[in-house]
Amino acid sequence: MKQISRWFQRNLIRIYAVVAFTYLFIPVAYTFAFSFNDSGKSNLVWKGFTFANWQNPCGAPEVCSALGNSIKIGFLATLFSTILGTMIAFALGRHKFKGRSTTNLLIFLPMATPEIVLGASLLSLFLVFKINPGFWPTVIAHVLFCISFVVVTVKARIASLDPRLEQAAMDLYANERETFRRVTLPLVAPGIAAAALLAFSLSFDDFIITNFNSGTMTTFPKFIYTSAARGIPAQANVIGSAMFFLALAIVIIGQFVGRKRKVS
């Protein structure tokens, strides 16, 4: 008995971690399980097991066009925010200049502004200029909230670089451009990749800002929100689960590749 309680005490924090992870994954498991539900229209009660939803993920009206929009917006928002954010991160991480603290403030403020304020203010700007909400306004809105996260992520990577590596390149007669291309950029690349992944997942999952600036266009989260009232088709669960496994695979492969490169 004493041994059991001692084991328990020693492993308490590990047991806690298992419980916490279970808590995090309960709704994910639920979503996955109900993607196999032979549910008909509303996926509320378990009615029987079927593969039909996975064989026909576009079976519910609009679900795949919504997904397509989300992917397109996510791709464009990631591209633009990663480029703009990385440039700012290099300016902040590698250069001394006047207006540095103003720049830092302007990067921090969008993160400290609730999404609903960002969304509402951007919409009111579009309305003033008679721009109809839709695809491009949504892309702009997503770039807006992704930029700051890209800057912070890439800047952290730049700050963790050993400056001696760049000095060594210079000592070996590389000019500034060559040093950047062959030393600095490859070293910062994992940070840029992480920032891009973060930007894509933020964009793909965003609902509040999208709801304000997308007008009649549907995205995947918007589709779920609007169909919640009348019941979400099981196809949405299929897509949600597939995204989960896809992202997990990308992250794990990325880690594996990163480790291999470190070894060689």
Binding site: I13, R14, Y16, A17, A20, F21, Y23, L24, F25, P27, V28, T31, L44, V45, G85, M87, I88, F90, A91, H95, K96, F97, T103, N104, L106, I107, P110, M111, A112, T113, P114, E115, I116, V117, L118, A120, S121, L122, L125, L144, I147, K155, S201, D205, F207, I208, F212, P221, I224, Y225, A228, I232, N237, G240, M243, F244, L246, V251, I252, Q255
Partner: protein, 282 residues
């Protein structure tokens, strides 16, 4: 012609973007917030009259939702901190080889849309789920008690949804702590609790501050959890702003509320950061 130096060339596109699509809209929102309806015009027609009374009206009319937003967000933040701290500690100090995998697992639920997960909670805790009937049969809750459509459900949903935002910065901070400092504390006869209070917690403060901000700010402006898991009695400020914009087309009130929310958050954040004593946020 004078050459523009490199940092400014790097900054101009991004800063130009933020100026056009962040500062300009905020300025425009400020203008909208003091407008009044055009007499006899269509709904949605407003003109500038510099009516600052809009702010007072909007606040008085919605002070309950205001209070709720800050109350719910505070409780959710405290709960998330309590849940995430031991988890981050476990990953940082007991993760071993599994550290990276565990970090991935913290973020992984993100990839299933947060709306799907919130609706999953609604169904798990709803009348058709298995939790409520079980608790009723065991007489833990009364026959008429429901778990969804309540303040409890809204706060629980927010706590759950923002948990990764809390865990990651906490982990980053705790992981930087040299385990030898904890050993040294033990060598100096501090017990586990004293070591935590005097060594671990102070050293992890930057993570605590970053995590609470990343949780509190989105939670205070959130309306999705309240819309899915709540009832009309749990409406938050976000719900009001949303319906003013889309259902009532009352832009000035929505703008005034948005500004008040943002100002309140910025004031609270500034006080909090000063008190917590960490200024290196970005």
């Amino acid at each position: 012609m004078k050459k523009i130096s490199t940092p400014y060339l790097l900054l101009i596109p991004g800063m130009g973007f933020l100026f056009t699509f962040f500062l300009l809209p905020l300025f425009n929102l400020a203008q909208t917030s003091t407008q009044t309806a055009v007499g006899g015009g269509d709904t949605g027609q407003y003109e500038q009259t510099f009516r600052f009374q809009n702010y007072v009206d909007a606040f008085v009319e919605n002070k309950e939702q205001f209070g709720r937003s800050f109350l719910y967000a505070t409780i959710a933040t405290v709960l998330a901190l309590a849940i995430a701290y031991p988890l981050a500690y476990a990953i940082a100090f007991k993760g071993g080889k599994l550290k990276n995998l565990m970090l991935v697992l913290v973020v992984a639920p993100f990839f299933t849309s947060f709306l799907l997960r919130t609706i999953a909670w609604k169904q798990i805790l709803g009348e058709e789920g298995f939790v409520v009937p079980t608790l009723r049969n065991l007489h833990i809750i009364s026959q008429s008690t429901t778990l969804t459509s309540s303040a409890f459900a809204v706060v629980a949903g927010m706590t759950y949804n923002f948990l990764p935002f809390m865990t990651l910065p906490l982990y980053a901070s705790i992981d930087r702590i040299d385990p030898r400092t904890l050993e040294a504390s033990g060598d100096l006869y501090a017990n586990g609790f004293t070591t935590f209070r005097k060594v671990t917690l102070p050293l992890s403060m930057p993570g605590v501050v970053a995590g609470t901000l990343l949780t509190f700010i989105p939670a205070a402006g959130d309306y999705v959890n309240a819309a899915i898991l709540g009832s009309p009695q749990t409406k938050m400020l976000g719900n009001v702003i949303e319906s003013r914009y889309f259902k009532i087309v009352d832009y000035p009130t929505a703008a005034a509320l948005s500004f008040t929310l943002m100002a309140a958050i910025l004031v609270l954040v500034t006080i909090y950061v000063r008190k917590a004593g960490t200024e290196e946020l970005v």
